[in-house]
Symmetry: C2
Subunit: 138 residues, 2 copies
Amino acid sequence: MPARDLFHDAVVHALQKDGWTITDDPLTVRYGQDRVAIDLGAEKILAAVRDREKIAVEIKSFLGESELFDYHAALGQFLNYRLALQGTEPDRILYLAVPKETYKSLFSRDLAEASVQQYQVKLLIYDPEEEVIVQWRP
Amino acid sequence: MPARDLFHDAVVHALQKDGWTITDDPLTVRYGQDRVAIDLGAEKILAAVRDREKIAVEIKSFLGESELFDYHAALGQFLNYRLALQGTEPDRILYLAVPKETYKSLFSRDLAEASVQQYQVKLLIYDPEEEVIVQWRP
């Protein structure tokens, strides 16, 4: 199985363990003439408020030669997908799924950290081996 | 010569024809532990105000399989480079150089157009064959 798909499956399993139902794989969003495919759509019933929380997740493996360069590309995708989602489903929250090792090395660097704050990127940090969610940020 | 370098040279020549002096090729910008290399730094003396205008230019060829996907990556690079520049040279303005054919096709689409406006991306539209600048936007 290609490495990319391993990461995809790991995030699917991690979300399911966390009580999420995968509703779209991928989640297709139209914007004008364009169609973008976000890796996953998921929802979770919040019993207390009788409501459902909806998310979209773009999964990144960061397997390229440069983590920083992979982050540039991931940032652009995240921001354009978020823009597209705002037009169709403003209540669905987009997350960028990042492996925990990447999170430790990349986001301990000032530029990536400043960028995540500046552009309000929401991160879902996952463990690709244990297939669990390590942290939602914020 | 690789296509990438042809586009690079075309933008260098287009800027020179427009009265710019290339000062950095590439322009290296430090941000914390990171160093990013923006394709070009250039300046132009504005005689009327006895001042010099300074720009940085990241050159994109859009030769990938998907123009929209290339744009995602270019947007992330642009926004992270702009963030890095703000820390070191806040008066230097960053532009994304886009070939005119890409501009016509990609930016006639709603998503790319909305994205450029939302994230205040400055574009330098160039003709890679004539090696001239077609438009600065805005």
